[in-house]
Each structure stands twice: as structure tokens, then as C-alpha cells.
């Protein structure tokens, strides 16, 4: 049995079946790449893994216990990066990140190093609305650095990132895995990450 696994998962979005009878498994230190065409259910699977969606069928478990049995514990162990950046345009870069540090009760002194790490330190006072799409993505990645988490769920994390940003992402994933964390991410790009298991989602043909 793997630390994080799902069995027999089925997901519907409204009246449309997205996938059925899907299994996944990941252990500490592993990375799982969700690959597949548009509409194949990559984002839906990540939302199921996060507990933002309920599967129509099947069970997702952490350490053998269904995540639905203790939502609070599951929320505490994960960081989720959706395809939207959750950046407030009227807050500065530092204020955006400081809010999440306060909201998650993470130490305040993690904000400056996180901004430094993602290359946004010089823009710390810039308003969120002044950032480019790639810079907003970097700010979203900085949220992952506020406090260590056992599970990263990342939806298209490298979207809009330049080559340096993609290299940074690879480093962050490697560090998370080295700490024993599990990284699950979706991407249309083939990323140069070592020892990544690929989970192909085909979707359900109409």
C-alpha cells in the first residue's frame, strides 16, 4: 500500500463523465506527472486529491485512511496550486504573500526568503496588477515555500514561466522530494525532472 493512493476513482463534471475507474499511487519522495489532452481530467483529479471535489466513485487515502475521514488533517498536509494564481491585484507582492503566511499561521520570516528564492525580491512593493503572467506564477510558487508540506498538488505549475522559472520549479520539486514530500503536478510540457512517474489520463471519449 502506498502512502497516497486512489482506487477506482470516477469523476463527473455536471452531466459529463471525466474519467472512470482511475487508480494512482505515490510514496514519500515521489513525483507523479499527470499527462493527457485538454479535458482529460488532470485538473479534476488534482481537485479530488485536494478534497475540493468529491469523487463519484472510489476512494482517495493517505496512509491507508480515506482523506474524507479527516478533511482538516488532509488540508494541513497539502499545498495546492491551481491554474489561477490567487494574486490580489491591489495588494503588493509582499502583502500578497504575507497574507497567506498569516492565514496559514506560517512564520513571518519566511516571506522575504520565499520572495528572494522565486526572484521577486526587487518587486516586493509592486502591486500585484503590475506583474506579468510569469511573475504572478512565481508569486504563486512562493506560497509553497512558506511552510513545508507533505503533499504538493500543482496544476500546470510552469504555465507562463520562462526557462529560469522552469529550472526554479525543478529545484523546488527536488527539494520537496528530498524532504520526503510527494509532488503531483499536471503539465502539457515534458519537464526535465528525474524519476517522475507518468500517469496518462485519456478522458472518456464522447
Amino acid at each position: 500500500m502506498s502512502l497516497f493512493q486512489g482506487n477506482g476513482l470516477a469523476c463527473w463534471r455536471g452531466e459529463i463523465p471525466v474519467f472512470e475507474d482511475l487508480d494512482f499511487a505515490a510514496d514519500a519522495g515521489e513525483a507523479l506527472w499527470l499527462a493527457g489532452p485538454n479535458g482529460s481530467g488532470k485538473s479534476s483529479l488534482l481537485r479530488l486529491m485536494a478534497g475540493l471535489l468529491e469523487p463519484v466513485d472510489g476512494v482517495i487515502a493517505w496512509g491507508g485512511a480515506p482523506i474524507a475521514a479527516d478533511r482538516e488533517a488532509h488540508r494541513a498536509r497539502l499545498r495546492y496550486l491551481g491554474h489561477l494564481d490567487a494574486v490580489k491585484p491591489h495588494l503588493s507582492v509582499a502583502e500578497n504573500l504575507r497574507f497567506w503566511a498569516e492565514y496559514w499561521d506560517a512564520p513571518h520570516n519566511t516571506v522575504a526568503p520565499a520572495l528572494e528564492r522565486v526572484g521577486l525580491a526587487r518587486l516586493r512593493e509592486a502591486a500585484g496588477r503590475r506583474l506579468s503572467a510569469g511573475q504572478r506564477r512565481r508569486l504563486a510558487l512562493a506560497r509553497l515555500l512558506l511552510a513545508p508540506a507533505a503533499l504538493w498538488l500543482l496544476d500546470e505549475p510552469t504555465a507562463a514561466l520562462d526557462s529560469d522559472g522552469i529550472a526554479l520549479f525543478s529545484e523546488l520539486v527536488a527539494e520537496c522530494r528530498a524532504r520526503g514530500g510527494i509532488v503531483v503536478f499536471s503539465s502539457h510540457e515534458v519537464l526535465a525532472l528525474p524519476d517522475v512517474r507518468r500517469l496518462a489520463l485519456e478522458g472518456i471519449a464522447a
Binding site: 497539502l78 491551481g82 489561477l84 490567487a86 494574486v87 490580489k88 491591489h90 492565514y103 496559514w104 499561521d105
Partner: protein, 220 residues
């Protein structure tokens, strides 16, 4: 609870920085209220008799102005997912959002209420009761409004929907708030304020649960 206060502070900062919400609410409250003397005549007796109903009605309409964005911007930029995946329960999140809304709209209305009282020729003895009625009514407007904002989340023309959804629920608040002002002016007893206080407690106890359920539904 640090997450609760962090969210209140963030919403206050956003509300003040975007600048217009609190100002628009107050201006609407005063301008809409100032129309009534033109429509029904400037006689002090008639105006003061209607002042409670007018003040409560324009307060309810003013509170509606910014409600459709209470959760919508967090929903549209992905923040709501992040908020929902945090240790703070959704019920407390709903309470924090309602508190921030009240601080940005209800409190400015309270501060502006004496000016409306002047416009409506409210007798001197009526200012205290007017403030008490608004102080007891506006938290319910924010709590019920938060529920409405969560229910219409993701819907097209949510701002219109929320009006139809929430205004009928505001009716008891308007009736009791206006009756409270009458009571303060010596017409009737103080029961309306007691009932209004009871409604405050009921709204405080029930609406966060209902709002949280609506937010969970909106994320599917």
C-alpha cells in the same frame, strides 16, 4: 484564529485601497435618503414619522451594492480554493468576510446616519434610536448578504440574482428596525430592539453554516 483576523485585515485593506466601496455606500445612503423630502414633501412631522423606514430601507439597498463581489473576486482569481484548503473552517471564513463587509459598509452607514437624520428632519430624541436600530440591523444585512453572495457564486448576473434572493429576507429587519426607531420616539415599546437583537444572535449562529455549505457547493 490568526487566519480569521488576517482575512478581515486583508479584506479591509482591499476595500480601502480599491477605495470606492465604502464611499459609494455612504454616498448612496445619503443621496437616496435625500430624495425622499423632494418626493413626499419637506414637512418635519411627515418626514420624521417616515425617517426610520427610509433610513433602514436605503441602508439595506446600500449594503447590497458591494455584496456581489464579496466572494466573487476570490472565486475568480483562485483565492477561494486556497482559502478553502486552509486550516480555518469555512464557517469562520464566512464570519470573517461578513465582519469585513460590515466594517466597510455597516459602520460607515452608522457614522453617516446623523447626517441623514438631519436631512429627514429627525427630532433630537430620534438620533439615539436611529443609531441603535442601524447598529442592530446592519450586522444582519452583512450576514444574510454574505449568504446570498455565496449562493450566487459563479452565476451569471449574480448581482441581480442576489437582490431578488436577499431583499425579501431583509424585510423583517426593516420592519423591526423602523419599529425600533418609532419606539425610541415614544410610539410603542422597546420590543422591536429585543427581537432585532435576537435576530442578530440567530443570524450570527446560523448564516455562517449556511454560507459555508453554499461555498462548498460553488467549488464543485
Amino acid at each position: 484564529m490568526s487566519g480569521f483576523f488576517a482575512l478581515v485585515r486583508r479584506d479591509l485593506r482591499l476595500g480601502l485601497r480599491q477605495g470606492v466601496d465604502a464611499l459609494v455606500v455612504v454616498l448612496f445612503f445619503l443621496v437616496a435618503g435625500a430624495l425622499f423630502p423632494f418626493a413626499i414633501g419637506p414637512e418635519p412631522e411627515r418626514l420624521s414619522h417616515l425617517a426610520g423606514g427610509i433610513a433602514l430601507t436605503v441602508a439595506a439597498l446600500a449594503a447590497l451594492l458591494s455584496l456581489d463581489r464579496l466572494y466573487q473576486t476570490d472565486y475568480e482569481d483562485g483565492s477561494l480554493d486556497q482559502l478553502a484548503l486552509s486550516p480555518l473552517p469555512l464557517e469562520l471564513l464566512a464570519l470573517a468576510k461578513a465582519l469585513a463587509h460590515w466594517l466597510l459598509t455597516g459602520l460607515p452607514l452608522l457614522i453617516a446616519a446623523p447626517i441623514l437624520g438631519l436631512i429627514l428632519r429627525l427630532p433630537e430624541a430620534g438620533y439615539g434610536p436611529l443609531l441603535l436600530s442601524l447598529a442592530l440591523s446592519t450586522p444582519i444585512l452583512s450576514l444574510l448578504g454574505g449568504l446570498g453572495a455565496a449562493l450566487v457564486l459563479g452565476a451569471r448576473r449574480g448581482g441581480v440574482l442576489i437582490t431578488f434572493l436577499i431583499l425579501p429576507l431583509y424585510v423583517p429587519v426593516l420592519v423591526l428596525g423602523a419599529a425600533g426607531l418609532d419606539a425610541g420616539l415614544g410610539v410603542g415599546g422597546t420590543d422591536p430592539w429585543l427581537v432585532l437583537g435576537g435576530l442578530d444572535i440567530a443570524a450570527l449562529a446560523l448564516t455562517p453554516w449556511a454560507t459555508a455549505a453554499a461555498l462548498r457547493g460553488a467549488q464543485v
